[in-house]
């Protein structure tokens, strides 16, 4: 536990070491928030409800998505894949530490940094210009729990596709596919409720929905009581599935740790 805490602190500090990247990121998130909000507002000119979201839900969704984008890190991540490719993974394996435990703790240190420094300001800018939905205290707490689990799901997924570097020399292809899957099917680009019929149902059933759609719906008060607990339980389930698969892949991969880097 103490070790995980120490690793997590490094995860935070590593991102805190580049404050200008944070400033640039806040700027970008804000601009994208405005663009996306105005595009979706245009949709509401002709209707008052899309997939069960009224206009305030949708605008809130847009700003929340921008705010948690970095926290759940749906963008491509390949730090681990690069370590496998250049052979540095060997130096990780001569340490008495499990790589999955390391990266999980590291990411759980990184995420709060991004939540505070990349999430807070863009959302405040959005709230100054648009009328956004305010969650009930219970929903707010549930949102934070759900967001934390979403980070684990995301890391579980990223860890898994990064491990493909054991078998593929270049994982750019895998990255592209994973990136479009997680951007589109998580609800990052637009709410999954906007997807037509069966596509929406499939998207809701996939693990990616646990990364963005689930926490935002909780903030918007779309789930109550048992259903709310069910959403978080489903997220936890997907987190365990990804971590389990990652575990198996790591075992298989380190067995065939090939000649890369002599």
């Amino acid at each position: 536990m103490r070790l995980d805490w120490e690793i997590a602190k490094r995860g935070w500090r590593r991102y805190a070491a580049y404050p200008w990247a944070t400033v640039a990121g806040i700027f970008t998130n804000t601009i994208f928030g405005f663009i996306q909000a105005y595009i979706l507002l245009a949709v509401y000119r002709h209707r008052t409800d899309v997939g069960g979201y009224d206009v305030r839900d949708t605008v809130t969704y847009v700003w929340l998505a921008q705010a948690i984008l970095m926290t759940v890190y749906v963008f491509g991540w390949q730090e681990l894949a690069l370590r496998i490719r250049d052979g540095s993974i060997a130096t990780d394996l001569v340490r008495p530490l499990d790589p999955q435990r390391y990266w999980l703790a590291y990411d759980l240190g990184r995420a709060p940094y991004h939540f505070v420094f990349r999430g807070f300001l863009p959302f405040v800018f959005g709230a100054l210009v648009f009328r956004l939905h305010t969650p009930s205290p219970l929903d707010a707490v549930a949102f934070l729990v759900s967001l934390a689990v979403a980070v684990v799901v995301s890391l579980g997924f990223r860890f898994l596709y990064n491990l493909s570097a054991f078998w593929l020399v270049d994982i750019r292809g895998v990255m592209m596919v994973s990136l479009s899957l997680s951007l589109f099917l998580s609800g990052m680009v637009m709410p999954l409720s906007f997807f037509p019929g069966w596509l929406g149902e499939i998207a809701h059933a996939l693990p990616f929905a646990s990364i963005v759609q689930a926490p935002i719906d909780i903030w918007l008060g779309k789930h109550h009581g048992a259903a709310l607990a069910g959403v978080i339980a489903l997220q936890a389930f997907w987190a365990l599935v990804f971590l389990g698969l990652g575990r198996l892949a790591l075992r298989a991969g380190s067995r065939k740790l090939v000649i890369q880097g002599g």
């Binding site: 490094r10 060997a90 008495p96």
Partner: protein, 311 residues
């Protein structure tokens, strides 16, 4: 400390995108050796000879295809984590420190990874700060360190938890003379004072000469030399090469105590033992000398010569 018996590693490599051909690569072929506690030995061979593969098997990262390995009484690949606590490793060309964080941050984290008690950690660190002169850059982010500073940091990182056995893969590569000397002094000190067993992989003959008493040489996956340095030098390293430029092309010079290895126009290569000035005088007496140069045998060449079966 290390017992290796008939150790082999075979890789199956597939080529081609669609019709994949299988190629079998024997990276390490039935090598056997023993290393006693407190030894400081060199392990060398040309690139691709099987050095890293051996070290990966000794540290438990790779599972051997055949043979038996025991390191500190443990089977490395079965008990990798347990072994990891007792050994240290440093790879000169890889960064093991946390790139974006101050050096001391990496040390602190390693302390927790290896569960080093706080008081022991502080005495260890104080010692390394002194011996390796870390203080000027202890709080500098690793990415801003010079190569020499980083290597000193990496050595500290490998030694903080007080390992019994240290694997070093080219620890002095790319270092200037001063930095090299500092690293060598450090290795001698931990070996003599703490009895740490050190297995050193290098291309640098200087490292070997100043540090090791025993040498293992591997080529094409086979162990082709296991013995004392003095013996090796006497056999192969004692010969140097004198390159002479004569005024005009001449037949191979006939000089006692030297033999001509190669002739290229007015330039000749003479292999010899003993004094270079004596030989130079003899050459000058028998031909008109324009320029000359003495070449020390490098380790690559010695390895090549051992492999070529020059005995």
């Amino acid at each position: 400390m290390i017992e290796v018996d008939g150790l082999s590693k075979r890789f199956v490599v597939r080529h081609g995108r669609f019709r994949r051909e299988r190629h079998v690569v024997d990276a390490v072929k039935e090598i056997s050796f023993r290393v006693e506690r407190g030894e400081l030995l060199g392990y060398l061979g040309p690139n691709g000879a099987g050095k890293s593969t051996t070290i990966k098997m000794l540290t438990g990262i790779l599972v051997p295809s055949a043979g038996r390995v025991s390191v500190a009484g443990l089977d490395p690949s079965r008990r990798r984590i347990e072994l990891a606590r007792r050994i240290g490793a440093m790879f000169g060309q890889r960064v093991q420190l946390w790139w974006d964080l101050p050096l001391v941050d990496s040390f602190e984290l390693l302390r927790h990874i290896y569960k080093v008690p706080a008081d022991r950690y502080h005495t260890q660190l104080a010692r390394f700060r002194d011996v390796l002169d870390l203080d000027p850059f202890l709080h500098t982010p690793v990415r801003q360190l010079s190569l020499g500073q980083r290597i000193r940091g990496e050595l500290t990182a490998a030694m903080l938890h007080g390992p019994e056995l240290l694997f070093l893969d080219e620890p002095t590569i790319g270092l200037d003379v001063v930095a090299k000397q500092r690293v060598r002094d450090f290795l001698v000190e931990i070996n003599r004072q703490e009895g740490v067993t050190v297995l050193l992989t290098t291309h640098d003959l200087g490292d070997i000469e100043r540090l090791c008493s025993r040498l293992l040489v591997i080529d094409h996956g086979s162990l082709i030399w296991d013995g004392a340095i003095a013996q090796l030098k006497e056999r192969y390293g004692g010969e140097r090469t004198l390159v002479v430029d004569l005024e005009e092309p001449a037949p191979p010079l006939d000089i006692a105590g030297a033999r001509v290895e190669k002739v290229d126009g007015p330039r000749q290569w003479l292999r010899f033992r003993g004094s270079a000035s004596e030989l130079t005088a003899q050459v000058a007496a028998s031909a008109r000398l324009v320029d000359l140069q003495v070449q020390e045998p490098d380790i690559e060449e010695i390895v090549r010569r051992i492999y070529a079966g020059e005995r």
